[in-house]
Point group: C2
Chain length 291, copies 2
Amino acid sequence: MKTYLDCIPCFYKQALVAARKSGAGMAEQKEILDRVARIIPEFPLSKPPVEMARHIYGMIRERTGVEDPYRKEKEKSNRMAMDIYPELKSRVESSADPLLNAAELAIAGNIIDYVSKDALDLEGELSRIISTEKESIERESSRDFDYRGFREQLGRSGTILYLADNAGETVFDRVLIEEMKSMGEEKEIIYAVKERPIINDAVMEDALFCGLDKAARVISSGSDVPGTVLDFCSDEFLEIFREADLIISKGQGNFEALSGVSAPVYYLFLVKCPVIADEAGCDLGDVILRR
Amino acid sequence: MKTYLDCIPCFYKQALVAARKSGAGMAEQKEILDRVARIIPEFPLSKPPVEMARHIYGMIRERTGVEDPYRKEKEKSNRMAMDIYPELKSRVESSADPLLNAAELAIAGNIIDYVSKDALDLEGELSRIISTEKESIERESSRDFDYRGFREQLGRSGTILYLADNAGETVFDRVLIEEMKSMGEEKEIIYAVKERPIINDAVMEDALFCGLDKAARVISSGSDVPGTVLDFCSDEFLEIFREADLIISKGQGNFEALSGVSAPVYYLFLVKCPVIADEAGCDLGDVILRR
């Protein structure tokens, strides 16, 4: 997906937030915004927004010397999500269609950045997002939620590459992966996180904390773009990407990065940005599961 | 009020909206954003945001050759508000405290930029904002809504300068001005609009369309800053400003421009921006009437 002009004001906003999270003072925050003002005009809009984001966050890291400004937030998300892991598991196991329920949960886990206080809030949010049985049926008939196609493709696939999005959300991914594995057949599932901290994206540390290694082979994409832009990925990752029978792409960043790529990708995400809503032809807040 | 770093992303957003309203194509929109990226780093944050806004909108006007991109919108707002003028009048006249009701309406009229469809929508929005009798009493005891002080100051004032904000909202100002004049005493009320089109701010044409000349002496501030920054105003205006017993300042832009100035100003506005909410120590959506 290309970068839209509407992404530009958002880059400045993100830069300001990241500068503050990195502990920059007022003058340094201003200097960072001035640097963004020099970077953006040079950036080709033909590239996806996540590439510009990588550039901006990298500049802020260099300027402030803070490698991982979202560390604390990520740890909190991980803990919050791990706290409700047993609850998630029993919810899935007791549902009429555990795979559907786990897929919905995995998408809903995408909301974790917005939940601030505690696990209780998170559960509340999830109840709001997860469909009732009736809604599930409606969803299944929408073109944005192709659960039947996903299930069929999954049934046919031996090697599955699962592209992680945020820390904390990883726990929800684990629940879906465990459900996929319980489908009986021998499946190899590879879970790919980012190589280096970028925003609140999961890195190896987050995946291990959330026990993803108990459910899948955890690898790094080799990149610190907050979305899987293939040009930035390692050769090892690219080999797996090319050979996978099914690629599960979580979150908006991965959608941005891969939406033009020809590969057996199913996108699972919550639409949180108006530009992505336009690009994907859906509405803010929509729950997406589609090729 | 100074410019906050949080205003910076918003300037880009506003520039993009204005470029589009001016009919700029994609390449021209991009060029405008690139120009903004050159202007903003040079702008001293000690000045109020409305000064930067004037600079940006001026650049877009020069670049696109479109003098008044908000013209149609302003005309629509004027017509919508004039359509409900009789209704506003009868509402005020039948209320327990007509001056209070008119003041609340004048503040609520500030919502007009957000109302898109028709006069019916506008009436709905107003009903939502205008207080019930009970709410009025609560409001009177809040430090942000000093109606008693306003009424007393009004009673003592012979010359009143009323600083307009948006087109359409002018009709609501007219209702308040007519109520002020019906207080019996001989009052001279001067209504000041912007000299040249800037965003959706009212200019002479809007004031005349809405019949403000029937209620007040209509003048121009001599400036095209979307807020009354005194350095940019005409000598004629400044003389009136200095001699007025009471200055009624409508909208956020005028608050930004005057919040550091020593003068007998009452601010009437709806808090629509988080930065202004911080500066004024109140919440988004608050209804403000205070010195």
